[in-house]
Amino acid sequence: MSGELASGFTIVAGSQISLALAISALLFVIGLVGFLCRRNMIIMFLCTELMFQGAALAMIAFARMRMDVSGQVFVIFILTVAAAEAALALGLVVLLYRRRETLSSDAWSELGES
């Protein structure tokens, strides 16, 4: 029963997995392109969150495929950490904005040759 169930799931999941992975890849690429193209720091931060969620979705999909909950547990942790990190990052963005009166990331380029 378990084998049937497993094989049935596999078949069902097979089509669903590729869909989930496709969505995850789409989310990641949207995030990546957004990160590379935009200069607004808040948008860039949102894009990193998108990439995060893309990766998390892929993890859930694989966990579902392997019938293993640890992937989902990871995702819950990721979400928690991401929430904390979002709070921090937004705080940073606000501070950076106060310094330069702009949200553009071009305002921060001290590391390079001026």
Binding site: S109, G112, E113
Partner: protein, 716 residues
């Protein structure tokens, strides 16, 4: 050689350790003055400490003089001891101990006495620096007296060397006292470096002494000479006096190392009086007197000393004739008089040399202190053409008359103390069996005439004639004016309004400390003539001669003692007369003649001096004389061309090599490699956030593509 045989063997006397206080007190005073400087004491406390300490030191020496019965060695503590075997040359000891004989006491009597007097003078002279450099000044004076004590009283040559370097250091610190003035710093460095050249000779001489005798302790050295019977003069031994001589020439400003002394006048005048006239510069004379037996080792050693002394006396006197800065005139006269002392040592009369040291110490300190009082009162005026008639100005009489005493003594006016001391030297030279010594004696006599001329040139210009004065370069100095006003306001309110006191210059006359010291020194200059008066008029033994004869300065090979008892058989005559009478006549003539010439040119008709100078300059065959004299015979320039310039060029070449090869090619060249590598990668780090992201994404993409490619290939 019988010279060493006549030196009495020193007795070890630990119970006389209290004489060490004469050195210890100045050292304590130096420490206290340093504390005052650290605590920023604003009062005259350092002067008080130093005066008390030096007076105590002087008292100790006087007490030691009266307790003295023969040469003693006083051990104080063990200082340096090395042993690397049992043999004679396998140990080295230099104890902190005192060697007290009559020469030591003689020297210390006038060093500590003059040190005390000049410190009292300085307490008033330096009062403008109260709270600023006051403690530093008296620290320098104390450390000088400490070092001089170690030099003179030390039991061995290591202690002498310690003192020798210590007085050099004190001289450096005090010449460079006004360290904001570049010329003072320059002069301090010059004095220090030229002394170092001499000190090299002294150090090598001390090394040679140790190599030959295995000891540096005076008593043992003299005993070793006596036992060794230095009949064979080998190179090692004969080089010793020449090396020691170089040290003496450096310290006592003789040719060729004399140019530092005139520049050393940049220091405060009490320093010039004490260190650069009365005491430190006589250390060379002391060294030769102390080591006299070793100078008799080589027949040419003393002749060299005589020649150097005689020529220095003449050259310095000619320079002194043509200077307008009266402090410089006195500086050159110091060099010239030191030349006489070396002449005396060289021709074999340590008595004459040391007696002249004593008389010179008094009258030259007196002259410098009067010069200082004038300079102090006229805001640093040193040009003798810009001061006149001080004798008639209120408050300046003591200065004028004591200066006259100093000038009479310096020009060896008949029957002054310096007349007899100079006479002793010239007598010995003129009655010598050596023709070149007799020649040097005549040179010395001619120099005596020049000395009288330039000395009275100063006095007739400054103290005699119509009253006229101009303020010196410091009259616009705000701080000077303030303190000058304050010092006068203390007693009575200044009638001149504040606005005028800055416009019109008022010389301020010296007060009790300066005047008192001047009078005491003038009396002292008279008193130091008493030994000679006693000898000449009462036929008593000259005290100075007795002091010299019982010390290491006693000379074995000469007829000095016969001269003392009047039993000498003089083979030489002076101008066909008995040497005594002849020399008295010739010496007096030189002195009075010089004074009369000075009177004519610098008091009777002052214009004629300028006319004479112009007349000399018009004649091509004689014009080089005044030009060379005014330019100090171009000795500084010759040294510049011969030593300083080549060294400067060498330094520039080394500097160029260091900068462009060592630093440029090796160090900077190697450093260029990482810089070049960095330049290649630097564009990657633009600072723009997105460029990093693109690089990273691209990198990840490339890695992914590679992994995929390998994976696909593995599939096939």
């Amino acid at each position: 050689m019988t010279a060493a045989g006549s030196i009495p063997q020193a007795v070890i006397a630990p119970e006389l350790a209290w004489v060490g206080l004469a050195i210890l007190l100045p050292l304590l005073s130096a420490i206290l003055c340093a504390l005052c400087a650290a605590l920023r004491v604003k009062s005259k406390l350092p002067a008080l400490i130093t005066t008390v300490a030096l007076a105590g030191s002087c008292f100790v020496i006087v007490k030691a003089y009266f307790a003295y019965s023969g040469p003693v060695e006083v051990p104080i503590f063990q200082w340096i001891t090395f042993e690397w075997g049992d043999g004679k040359f396998q140990s080295f000891t230099a104890d902190c101990a005192l060697y007290i004989d009559s020469l030591t006491l003689y020297w210390m009597l006038f060093v500590t006495g003059l040190g005390t007097l000049i410190t009292i003078y300085a307490s008033e002279y330096m009062e403008e620096d109260c709270g600023k450099g006051y403690s530093r000044f008296f620290f320098g004076m104390s450390i000088f007296l400490f070092s001089m004590g170690a030099l003179v009283m030390g039991d061995n040559l290591v202690m002498l060397y310690l003192g020798w370097e210590g007085v050099g250091l004190a001289s450096y610190l005090l010449v460079g006292y006004y360290y904001e003035r570049p010329s003072a710093v320059e002069a301090a460095k010059k004095a220090f470096i030229m002394n170092r050249i001499g000190d090299l000779g002294l150090a090598l001489g001390i090394f040679m002494l140790w190599c030959n005798y295995g000891t540096l302790q005076y008593g043992e050295l003299f005993a070793a000479m006596k036992d060794g019977g230095q009949t064979s003069v080998d190179w090692d031994l004969s080089v010793i006096p020449f090396l020691l001589m170089i040290g003496a020439f450096g310290k006592s400003a003789q040719i060729p190392l004399f140019t530092w002394l005139p520049d050393a006048m940049e220091g405060p005048t009490p320093v010039s009086a004490l260190i650069h006239a009365a005491t430190m510069v006589t250390a060379g004379v002391f060294l030769i007197a102390r080591m006299y037996p070793f100078f008799e080792l080589h027949p040419q050693a003393l002749a060299t000393v005589a020649w150097v002394g005689g020529s220095t006396a003449l050259v310095a006197a000619t320079i002194g004739m043509a200077q307008y800065d009266f402090k410089r005139v006195f500086a050159y006269s110091t060099i010239s008089q030191l030349g006489y002392m070396f002449l005396g040592l060289g021709v074999g009369t340590t008595f004459g040399a040391c007696y002249h040291t004593l008389t010179h110490a008094f009258f030259k300190a007196l002259l410098f202190l009067t010069a200082g009082a004038i300079m102090h009162g006229f805001a640093g005026q040193l040009d003798l053409r810009k001061l006149s008639g001080l004798r008639q100005m209120p408050g300046w009489r003591i200065v004028s008359w004591t200066m006259l005493v100093g000038c009479l003594w310096l020009s060896a006016f008949p029957y002054t103390a310096a007349f007899f001391s100079k006479d002793a030297i010239l007598f010995k030279a003129l009655t010598s069996e050596r023709g070149d010594f007799r020649f040097l004696g005549w040179v010395g006599l001619a120099t005596a005439g020049l000395t009288a001329y330039y000395t009275f040139r100063v006095w007739f210009r400054i103290c005699a004639g119509p009253v006229h004065y101009e303020a010196g370069p410091e009259s616009h100095d705000q701080s000077h004016d303030q303190s000058h006003d304050q010092s006068h306001d203390k007693g009575k309110p200044d009638p001149t309004p504040e606005g005028e006191s800055h416009g019109a210059f008022h010389p301020h006359a010296p007060r009790w400390a300066i005047n008192g010291v001047l009078v005491i020194l003038a009396i002292g200059a008279v008193v130091v003539g008493f030994p000679a008066y006693g000898h000449v008029f009462a036929h008593k033994e000259n005290w100075v001669q007795a002091m010299m004869a019982s010390s290491s300065a006693y000379q074995g090979a000469c007829l000095e003692s016969d001269h003392g008892t009047g039993a000498a058989v003089h083979t030489q005559t002076v101008l066909g007369l008995d040497p005594h009478t002849g020399l008295t006549i010739v010496g007096s003539t030189a002195s009075i003649g010089g004074i009369l010439i000075a009177w004519y040119f610098h008091l009777y008709s002052r214009k004629s001096a300028d006319q004479l100078r112009a007349a000399l300059l018009r004649r091509w065959w004689i014009r080089w004389v005044p030009i060379c004299m005014e330019n100090r015979w171009y000795v500084d320039e010759i040294y510049l061309a011969c030593f300083r310039l080549p060294m400067w060029i060498g330094a520039q070449i080394l500097n160029f090599g260091d900068r462009h090869f060592l630093d440029g090619v090796l160090v900077d060249g190697l450093a260029k490699f990482p810089i070049a590598v960095g330049k290649v990668f630097r564009p990657l780090y633009s600072g723009a956030l997105q460029s990093y992201a693109i690089t990273m994404t691209g990198g990840v993409a490339l890695v992914l593509a590679w992994v995929t490619w390998i994976w696909l290939r593995g599939f096939n």
